[in-house]
């Protein structure tokens, strides 16, 4: 069974007033998750990857387990989550994602592209990351 975790430290996130704001530093994309999607995200918090069966209850009546899996696979596709194990057999095709949805914003991506910053590796200066 697939297990999922938030792609840290590349993704940072905060939850306030029932909305998760998640920012992906690799791409400059940022995301909003509200309602049951926010609850599902909160269930993901922590270092350990969590299997779909353990996460699905967080979505409540908004989605069944297969729909939760399809939604989580969408979050993997956009870079927010990492997955171990096989993706759901039908990611948001026929299954759909029930009442789970997110918004994806790309208007900040140019900040990453125009001023790239390279962090130095453990090998020390002047060895930079690729």
């Amino acid at each position: 069974m697939a297990a999922y975790r938030i792609r840290s430290p590349q993704v940072v996130h905060e939850s306030v007033a029932g909305e998760v704001v998640a920012i992906d530093f690799a791409t400059g994309s940022y995301f909003s998750l509200r309602g049951p999607a926010e609850s599902l995200w909160t269930a993901l918090s922590g270092e350990e990857a969590r299997p779909v069966d353990a996460l699905a209850p967080a979505a409540g009546e908004a989605a069944d387990t297969s729909q939760v899996a399809a939604f989580l696979d969408q979050l993997v596709e956009v870079g927010l989550l990492e997955r171990s194990g096989e993706a759901a057999a039908d990611a948001a095709g026929e299954t759909g994602t029930g009442g789970l949805a997110f918004e994806h914003f790309t208007d900040m991506e140019e900040l990453i592209l125009l001023d790239p910053v390279h962090d130095v590796t453990d090998a020390g200066w002047p060895n930079a990351t690729s």
Partner: protein, 347 residues
């Protein structure tokens, strides 16, 4: 080399610069984020970078500085720090961080900025700013010098640099104007200069103490795209240094010194957007406020762990009300609307 080894090399280069026969050292005392900061600069560096920070200069020489910035212009940063060996495009930036220290380099400009927290022996935090010469400084340093240093030091002392404009009154506090470039926050802040009551703290970056919350001015400059100059005719911007695209810089300390203030409590957060039938305010919840305020700040973050910055912004949006601001077509109408909002929301 580790970041501390690099900073030690910067220190050695500074010591060498000040010991050079004929070198003159200028000291300027500033108050940044409400705290004493000492700028020590060799030869013409202090004058080259004076205008953006001139409104923060203070005469008090008794307070021990919380931060000392050493700034000098001599060739050699590229060689001493091996900037050429990272194997990256010269236009890209390099960053190395360690415990309570950070250094960044702009190989294209030969610019290096570094910061480290003081030890018990040193008493204060220190920073280094090193370029080959002041004749060809990049626009971003002429308009907003030491920004990474201010960010790193601010983070260390509990202040968050925010990509936002800020205007306000002494009676009712300030609004932060957050959002992406082009949302109208800079134009709105510059039109506040025409108001008898509103005062200006910044148009692009400010320091915020999210626990109070309070906003601190950082730069008395504004960058204006040449096509937008007509929208702010009361502000005269000029070509500075090597012209970059169509960007001009207005040095507000020269023309509007009496309209700039150092600090104000934060009363509200405004999220402007161009167009609409305005100026008109619509309350937004903290989630929308964070989503519209945070990304441009956090994605320009120049430290290595943006999590605390996002958490600080979350605390800020939980502390003050937030409003979408439809600007309408007449920017001259906005100052009065902002004054009214401040008066009606100051606790």
């Amino acid at each position: 080399m580790t970041v501390h080894e690099l900073l030690d090399r910067c220190r050695q280069a500074w010591d060498h610069a000040v010991a050079t026969p004929g070198a003159s050292i200028t000291e300027r005392r500033l108050r940044i984020g409400g705290r004493p900061v000492l700028l020590r600069a060799v030869d013409g560096v202090a004058d080259a970078l004076r205008s953006p920070l001139a409104h923060l200069e203070v005469d008090d020489a008794t307070a021990a500085p919380c931060l000392t910035i050493h700034a000098w212009a001599t060739p050699g940063a590229g060689t001493v720090l091996d900037l050429d060996r990272a194997g990256l495009p010269a236009t890209d930036q390099l960053r190395i961080a360690g415990a309570d220290a950070c250094l960044m380099a702009w190989p294209e400009h030969g610019l290096v900025q570094g910061f480290r927290r003081g030890t018990a022996v040193d008493h204060g935090d220190e920073a280094f700013w090193w370029v080959p010469g002041v004749e060809d400084l990049p626009l971003f340093e002429l308009a907003m010098p030491f920004r990474p240093i201010a960010h790193w030091w601010g983070t260390a002392v509990g202040l968050q640099m925010v990509h936002a404009a800020a205007v306000g009154t002494s009676e009712h506090g300030a609004v932060l104007l957050g959002g992406v470039s082009g949302s109208g926050k800079s134009t709105t802040a510059l039109w506040a200069l025409t108001s008898d009551r509103l005062r200006y703290l910044g148009d692009d970056y400010v320091l915020v103490d999210p626990e109070v919350p309070e906003v601190f001015s950082l730069y008395a400059t504004a960058k204006i795209h040449e096509p937008d100059q007509a929208r702010v005719p009361h502000v005269r911007a000029e070509v500075v240094g090597r012209q970059e695209e169509d960007k001009l810089v207005a040095f507000l300390h020269r023309s509007h010194r009496d309209r700039i203030v150092e600090r104000l409590p934060v009363t509200a957060l405004l999220l402007p957007r161009v167009g609409g039938d305005g100026p008109r305010f619509r309350p937004v919840d903290a989630g929308e406020a964070l989503r519209r305020l945070a990304p441009s700040t956090v994605l320009q973050f120049q430290g290595t762990d943006p999590g605390p910055a996002l958490a600080a912004l979350r605390r800020l949006v939980q502390a003050v009300p937030a409003f979408d601001l439809a600007l309408g077509h007449d920017p001259s109408a906005t100052p009065a609307a902002v004054e009214d909002l401040l008066a009606s929301h100051r606790p």
